[in-house]
């Protein structure tokens, strides 16, 4: 298999940096809200779960190569743990691998050729589903009376924030012209301009 160009690797790192920074800023705001909500805060955090999945579909749509989604999530988690000092520690690497794998599957099934709403939606749902079983084990959700409620909230969040939002962001980015030199830009050029969105 051809290895990734340095340009693609640096892009993956940069996506991890930007989203790591944004999450960090959001979590600061979120913590205050979580304290105010008490026990409900533990449940309410699931609303934001999909946001953690964003990096993978965006990276895949731009670079269009196998394993890029998993790689993007793992790099983002390394940045969160090593550079931002996330309290989750190295266990975040496992969650990131599962998220990346789930998010990447639908794109892999189309052989990285289809980038319609359905593929993104499925990517968000699968990303959330795969990591749910790990989180449920890690945080002891099995045996709680609200297990299914947690699952439902995470799947919806994965669908909206981790799937559909990724397409919105990717489409907005390609219109800025900043992606012209990446695989997505070359594919657009072959089709005759970025506005023809498939």
């Amino acid at each position: 298999m051809r290895r990734l160009a340095l340009r693609d690797i640096v892009l993956l790192v940069m996506l991890g940096v930007v989203f790591g920074f944004l999450y960090w800023a959001l979590v600061q705001a979120w913590n205050g809200l979580a304290i105010a909500m008490g026990p409900a805060g533990d449940l309410a955090q699931h609303v934001l779960l999909g946001g953690w999945l964003l990096v993978a579909p965006i990276a895949i749509a731009i670079i269009r190569r196998p394993f890029v989604g998993i790689l993007a999530e793992v790099i983002a988690s390394v940045i969160e743990v090593v550079f931002l000092g996330s309290p989750a520690g190295p266990t975040l690497l496992i969650a990131a691998t599962l998220q990346g794998l789930g998010s990447e599957l639908p794109f892999a099934l189309t052989r990285y050729r289809r980038f319609g709403w359905w593929v993104y939606a499925l990517s968000g749902v699968l990303g959330a589903l795969l990591v749910f079983f790990y989180s449920a084990f890690r945080f002891g959700w099995f045996g709680q009376e609200i297990l299914l409620l947690r699952l439902g909230m995470q799947l919806v969040s994965g669908l909206v924030l981790g799937g559909l939002l990724a397409k919105v962001i990717v489409d907005a980015l390609r219109r800025t012209g900043v992606l012209d030199e990446f695989a997505i830009g070359r594919a657009d050029a072959a089709l005759g301009g970025p506005r023809r969105v498939g």
Binding site: V10, V18, D42, I75, F83, G140, V178
Partner: protein, 256 residues
Amino acid sequence: MTAAGVAPLARRNPTAKAAVLLVVSLGVILLDAPAPLLALWLLALAVARWAAGIGWRRLLLAQLPFLLFAIGVVSVNALTRPGAPLLDAPVHLSAEGTVLGLAFALRGFVIGTASLAFLASTPPRELMTSLVQHARLSPRYAAALLAGHRMLEATPERWATIRAAQTVRAPLDRRGRPRFGLAGFGRTAFALLVVSIRSSERIALALESRGLGDGPRTVWHPVPLTRADALLAAAVALAVAAVVAACALTLGWHAV
């Protein structure tokens, strides 16, 4: 040398430390009783204070995020698990749920404090160099990650610059101050993303022009891997095993 350079843990090999931290974290996830986890947390605090040289004030402040997590996880487990009532009115609090919740919360304290000791004693450059030398990480990824570290440090300033530009035409509230809200956050975030992708291309070009795109490389300031690192791994494994065994012997197997 920095302050971290004097601490005993700072002299150990970063890859060895990362591997130990990963194994300890995975082991801790398998424990679900409070007693051994409490002992491991005290141990991790001692390591962070004396082996990694973190001051008490910084160490205690760093426990705050774990405490927030703990409050949520204890209360939700006490409320949503079946079990003998600890309290029945006004709400049902389960005794089993509370104990389990405490264990989950303590896992967070143990992993978080151990990670803190690792990060405080490991400069990013040494970690990446060591991963290239001892864990076969591709130098291209190591260089990209180190560039990313610099970019992360520059990100708050980038954010402030974009914000300042957007403030010029932001709508004003009743007191004449610019109003942003969630949509404003999104606009700034998107601009940050565009600017960062653009600069990532320039960084890749700069790295390539220094030959980082290809070929085998030598390392400036190699990081040593010595017998002391093997001793560290053995000592940590022994300490964790001793804590678990002591709890099992004095409190019974259900207490681990």
